[in-house]
């Protein structure tokens, strides 16, 4: 049975009014940082833009918008993905975690604390993506060496070149002490 998603009824939660000429919105419901979210999205809206512009979760950054820089990395159902290369309408029913849902200033995720301790950034623009990538890496097959970490962090570009400290931060979480 096909599910044809149509322009439907329920207004978006906190969504801006539709612009003239905009295509019909499509309703989706997903979990973002542990909270149920129902919204109506333009089918062309990426997950990245929906997080930033509609849900106002601006921690996730837009760098290249083509899957080449990793600044937009979020977790979908526990796995890291580039949110710029996915339409929001493809995520009905999914559980999404952004940097805002990983930790808080009072209760940092261990990877966030490690980035602070190891000075794993300069300008900070790539940092949310780096941290989301690193947090996912902890649950992926990865060898013990710094080179293994560098390889699995290669999808996150840091224009400031903080790579050595980023690897040190990840390793300090994987190998405490």
């Amino acid at each position: 049975m096909k599910t044809l998603l149509s322009a439907a009824a329920a207004p978006a939660v906190d969504a801006p009014p539709a612009r003239p000429g905009a295509p019909p919105g499509i309703e989706i419901a997903c979990t973002v940082n542990g909270k149920r979210v129902a919204l109506t999205v333009d089918p062309r809206a990426t997950l990245l833009d929906t997080l930033r512009e509609t849900l106002e979760l601006t921690g996730t950054k837009k760098g290249c918008d083509h899957g080449q820089c990793g600044a937009c990395t979020v977790h979908v159902n526990g796995r890291r993905v580039n949110s710029c290369l996915s339409f929001a309408v493809m995520h009905d029913g999914d559980a999404i975690t952004t940097i805002e849902g990983l930790g808080t200033p009072d209760h940092l995720h261990p990877v966030q604390a490690a980035f602070v301790a190891q000075d794993g950034y300069q300008c900070g623009y790539c940092t949310p993506g780096q941290i989301m990538s690193a947090a996912a890496l902890l649950n992926e097959p990865c060898g013990p060496a710094n080179a293994d970490v560098a390889e699995l962090m290669s999808g996150n570009i840091c224009r400031c070149g903080a790579y050595q400290n980023i690897v040190a931060a990840v390793q300090s979480v994987r190998q405490p002490g």
Binding site: R44, G67, R79, L85, F87, V89
Partner: protein
């Protein structure tokens, strides 16, 4: 980005009913959405196939492995049966893209990955693949990453995939379903050379859906490698790559399969190069001869002439690694 209708297919039958000219299936989205943002892909309809039951990886009765069309590249690369029996495929997958992209990209999507030619990706440039009849800006332009084998006067685009090189060496078969029924296409017959119609890249007809890729039983005692040469150590497309699967007995190369990437309009395999090695003792001269056979018809451009020698050295090194006595 152009407007399109969006639907979710709940079954293969659903997907096929909505498919046809002007429609695109979306799974991982890593190629399609990238190119839609550039207005290179402009489908009228986008059909989300992520809910179809096509993500399984499992044994084929009688031997071999079936990899579902929707199996993610990362899941295939770490699947126990792939690591154990088809390590060349795991190596190839893990050499491609980034962990995030591998979590999204699917087996069938990777089969259909589009070229990284910069003129194909730029709607202001001439490109016979994107806009038939408009010309080819890559010929005489920037073509460092483009093909030297299988090209035509109309297109020199390269197939950028690593997965497809390994699947070619493994002699995979692509399972396809469509309005006219199901069919199986050996990967060696799946890709089309550009010729006069570089916009036609595979034998897939509009509306057809890839459901799985099957691998024949692994050759007993075979060793393999995927060697990828590129401008940086990670997260980069191949300038030249080689997938080699070889069975060596007492210094004799009993069986060998070779496919190369980064240099061809499609994943490149020349059976004559394998025949020049099979049944013979492994010597440096014979390995060099196999490389010479593969590159014999190369038609390089000024910007990628280095690839002729690079590809030869890539292959000889890969063959040397695989055939060295353990």
């Amino acid at each position: 980005m152009n407007l399109f209708t969006f639907s979710r297919a709940a079954s293969v039958a659903d997907a096929l009913r909505d498919a046809g000219a002007g429609a695109a299936f979306v799974a991982g989205g890593t190629t399609l959405i990238d190119l839609m943002k550039l207005d290179v892909e402009t489908p009228d309809a986008v059909i989300d196939i992520n809910r179809l039951p096509l993500a399984e990886v499992g044994a084929v009765p009688g031997g071999g492995l079936r990899i579902g069309a929707l199996a993610r590249n990362s899941d295939v690369a770490h699947h126990a049966a792939v690591v154990r029996d088809y390590p060349v495929l795991a190596e190839a997958l893990l050499s491609g893209a980034s962990p995030q992209l591998r979590n999204m990209a699917t087996t069938a999507g990777n089969l259909l990955q589009r070229t990284r030619c910069v003129y194909f990706r730029d709607t202001a440039s001439a490109c016979n693949k994107r806009a038939p009849g408009s010309g080819c800006a890559a010929i005489g332009g920037f073509n460092r990453n483009l093909a030297i084998l299988g090209t035509s006067e109309h297109c020199i685009a390269s197939n950028p995939s690593d997965q497809n090189v390994a699947l070619t060496a493994l002699e995979a078969t692509v399972q396809i379903t469509g309005a006219r029924g199901e069919r199986s296409v050996p990967i060696g017959e799946f890709y089309l050379l550009p010729g006069d119609t570089p916009d036609c890249e595979t034998v897939l007809e509009p509306g057809e859906l890839i459901t799985s890729v099957t691998l024949p039983p692994a050759a007993p005692g075979a060793r393999s490698t995927y060697l990828k040469l590129r401008d940086r150590a990670s997260y980069e497309f191949a300038l030249a790559s080689a997938a080699v699967i070889a069975t060596v007995t007492g210094g004799t190369l009993e069986r060998v399969r070779i496919a190369m990437g980064g240099i061809g309009a499609k994943p490149w395999r020349i059976r004559d190069a394998e025949l020049a090695l099979e049944g013979k003792a492994v010597t440096p001269d014979r390995l060099a001869e196999a490389a010479r056979i593969i590159l014999a018809d190369a038609k390089p451009q000024p910007g990628n002439a280095f690839k002729v020698e690079l590809a030869k050295r890539c292959l000889v090194h890969a063959l040397t690694l695989v055939t060295a006595e353990a």
